[in-house]
Symmetry: C2
Subunit: 665 residues, 2 copies
Amino acid sequence: MKKMSLDELCINTIRMLAVDGVEKANSGHPGAPMGDAAMAYVLWTRHLRHNPRNPLWANRDRFVLSAGHASMLLYSLLHLTGYNLPMSELKNFRQWGSLTPGHPEREPHTGVETTTGPLGQGFATGVGMAMAQRYQAEYFNRRGFTLFDYRIYGILSDGDLMEGVASEAASMAGHLGLGQIIYLYSDNRITIDGPTDISFTENRGKRFEAYGWHVQHVDGLDIRGIDAAIQQAKKQTGKPSLIVARTHIGYGSPHKQDSPASHGSPLGKDEVRLVKQRFGWGKRSFHVPTSARQHFRKALTSGARLESRWNGMTRKYTGKYGKTGSVLADMLQGKLPAGWDSALPSFDPTAGKVATRSASGKVLNAIAPHLPILIGGSADLAASNNTDLKGAGEFGTDKAGRNIRFGVREHAMGAAMNGLALSGLIPYGGTFLIFSDYMRPAIRLAALMRQQAIYVFTHDSIGLGEDGPTHQPVEHLASLRAMPNLYVIRPADANEVVEAWKVALNRREGPTALVLTRQGLPTLDRRRYAGARGLSRGGYVLADPPKGARPRMILIATGSEVSIALEAYKALTAAGSKVRVVNMPCWELFEVQSRAYREKVLPPSVTCRLALEAGAPLGWERYVGDRGRVLGVSKFGASAPASILFEKYGFSVQNVVRQAEKLMG
Amino acid sequence: MKKMSLDELCINTIRMLAVDGVEKANSGHPGAPMGDAAMAYVLWTRHLRHNPRNPLWANRDRFVLSAGHASMLLYSLLHLTGYNLPMSELKNFRQWGSLTPGHPEREPHTGVETTTGPLGQGFATGVGMAMAQRYQAEYFNRRGFTLFDYRIYGILSDGDLMEGVASEAASMAGHLGLGQIIYLYSDNRITIDGPTDISFTENRGKRFEAYGWHVQHVDGLDIRGIDAAIQQAKKQTGKPSLIVARTHIGYGSPHKQDSPASHGSPLGKDEVRLVKQRFGWGKRSFHVPTSARQHFRKALTSGARLESRWNGMTRKYTGKYGKTGSVLADMLQGKLPAGWDSALPSFDPTAGKVATRSASGKVLNAIAPHLPILIGGSADLAASNNTDLKGAGEFGTDKAGRNIRFGVREHAMGAAMNGLALSGLIPYGGTFLIFSDYMRPAIRLAALMRQQAIYVFTHDSIGLGEDGPTHQPVEHLASLRAMPNLYVIRPADANEVVEAWKVALNRREGPTALVLTRQGLPTLDRRRYAGARGLSRGGYVLADPPKGARPRMILIATGSEVSIALEAYKALTAAGSKVRVVNMPCWELFEVQSRAYREKVLPPSVTCRLALEAGAPLGWERYVGDRGRVLGVSKFGASAPASILFEKYGFSVQNVVRQAEKLMG
């Protein structure tokens, strides 16, 4: 091997591991790790405060590889600095069951902070992490007890900067002045389709200045320059920092440097040989020179020292500040504090109609004082989504304020929620159900990462009325139900909203979408019908034929259609039909019940079934079966008052009775 | 009524119509029309080249109300300038069956160019319109025959500028130097949640300069200033223009001006009275002073003259340039040219495996030379999506180049495709199926507007392999099928790709998603199995038991799972089972077939059915019925080679045979 400085040796170690990992997998992205190794090295060895032995240390700096395709860069750094990611995993890159998937997937035990790959998501998730840091600092820190002062570092690619979600998040971060963010933008001037000249010629630095960011330009190979830029960025406590680093994709590859050819494919055996020659690396694969390893592993001692100091401080803190100390302990253990649900409201059926969005606002306000890690807001629809926490202050303005003003930025809201959840908080975010489409990629990542994000999706059907089809969700319930690991809950009345929030808050391992009405709904009389607790089983029998008679047919409904089903039930029962009403607010919860329970609710012998839901019928066949029928919405909505739309689309008691009678023959 | 200048009178007429419309509907957004009336007036009476008598005149300037909630502004202008939108429709605002829905919905006969309301969409759709203008100009215009020089004007709100889709589109427009765009940004400093100070403090003008836009600042009440700014913007032929106009939401309302209170609710009877007092308007509702009407209606004469001159030029042009003249005639009539499908390839089953994405690239390249209105590209995945048109030039660089480099901007791509389609072109756009989530709001608008956009969604399942779950679609087929009016086609082999493109191109009234594999698939031997033409019916019988025997079970599959089903069929048949294989590439097409046909394909008496699809099982119960089973993907994918994933997720011939035998008992 060629003589080289320790810095060079370490940087080339990263490069060669990435090259070897991709080559062995015969799949992956070698170019970005080769180009970004120098700046990543400077960041990880001179700035990042972390403890490889405990990737969950609460005050660690976060590293977000927004350019997730450069995954081998991250895996190499984790391995080299001493995380629980052995060389065997690097050799097993992109293979079944490995800890080194093609794109980084959140894995707390190996130090992968967040799942990235879909471009822009890491950028915006990091903004959420910085929001979490600010809240934690404002809520927990006391004079002499700086518990939370971690920074969020990231590496970005051109693609990250082109995606709208990153633009939204950048604007939000600039507005909030999130100075803990330091992002290194790998300006390699190459995208998959060719040089950035063909599609991306804006002045990126100037754009970020316009957002209120601190912007610097450096040479991505200049170790000192990068170091100085990060130093400088750290001083910007009131502004997020973007360091535009001129890098070279596939750096060191004689035939593929600065070419898309090094982006998404292995370099190939011959080129790998030439690259190793170029770096004086010899022929060995997955080689880590001892001095490089020793240098990287210094992170172990410094990390242990950092954490131990922090633990000491935290112990003293807990002794001195009992109340916030106990909030801290719960947060660190991922526990909800005792009594968080002590003040939940209940709603009186005689008190008139209540929109489920309005009930949700009341529930949220009842819970919030007992659950300081609950934080959220709306994408500029706070009054409509009923997401405001009264008296809880404005995030970013008031100290430890909890009302986040996301602006008209649903996608950034979704991604920021992921960052908040990854940091130990419980985020909620509101918008109209229709605009869940704007944030789907972020919802998907919450589901994939098993993060507790709570979506407050109001105005859930044609029932929103006059705003028309652009604002009326039709396909959204079905499309959200299709997503693995997402709970979709559509409560039927105010008391079910209470239960829905309980489910959402107790579910620490995944996201929940609360689907709520704009319009008022009757509060069901639970002395007459089954209790709202049934929601926790996903589906339950709400009403049955009198005198324990066996039902001849089943009406199944969710949300605003449940009270229509009950009215139809009354009319049919009065006419002598034997009808059961099943409320099915959450399919996902129903599906995990025992078969016995499910068949008790929907007995296979009762094949005469009618499902009512003001949304796409897709999927309802599962519950109505071959002989059943679905009364859904198979076309777009229309602009008119809600009551007229319900009538026109068939959601009237009269029509339900007619359809039910037809089905019963 | 108070004495006022003609300009004032006209502007106030717009304001009062908007106020009255919202008040009568008891629903809507009065604030924006009141604030934006002055600049809209200047634009519509001094700059917009249009012919109210023919809203489809091909060289009309386009007006995009990106701030769709200000719909009464648009309806007032359309009514006043003489479009086919009588006063009765203004009085019927937001009512069932009216032509004046809550947000503007594309309606060619009344002059509503595009559906807006979901923020950012209008902005980005307008960018697509400007791309169409450039292509049409470059393709059709000749010396002395400037057939296409229309401009795209728009009115934007704060929300439009906050949405990521607009950021993506702005970057694209700046890169392409789309000088025909002139957008007026209504900088009213108010969003629903309060002053923009609480969430949106970036320097918008500077941001747009960074994108390469020409930016001006004016007072939104200053008629001369607005006029001069638009004049100036017109001179910027190489740069899109943003005119930042300081406006006042609810202008003229004593208690609600500059307040969110005037945004989304009627002003209320008392406030309306005060506003009318303030403007010296008297008490009449829906009042249009004669002189104002006369002034606005000048658009009729000038429009007729403009169009007649254009028609004359076009006639001469057609005489002189036969070939492009005939392309023009077809485009204007919405017809596909004769022989567009003359060069479609066919694929030989003995020639080895072909990925359906690769077949798609061949089909596209075969069609393109015969269909000059076909234009498109990819969101930075051209080589992966196989969307490049060889030799057709680069859009924006080569004259009439047709390969659009959208960059990593799926959402802007989707919205721009809507703009292209609305302008008479047939756009296609490629990305990975997983990233359809990034562009869903735009897909939905294509479906709602019945526009012919063709999505080339490749890498359609866990079959993409090593890139892992962040890149493997699972729920996307189901979530796209849930959307009304979208065709989702997943062809089983190369020859079905030909048929799929035929369906997509013949479908002038709605969008189609082509869902294609990364991996190679066998080309089915159509002498042995039914012809690929069956695709046009959505589902068809591919194989049946030998000797006309009645099937005992049905295997139903789509895309890459069809050849697995056929292998299983062979094994089962060899073992003596009587099995039918149904290929179901497009549910939407199958659903519109006659009941007789559907029951021929899926006879109700054959209840033993197994569906195979490497995606969420949601909805498949419709076809497999109560006794059937779905072999789908109910969790997220994983990072590993595709063949291993197919095995692990149960998509092996062996497992299908086992499941089928189990079902048959």
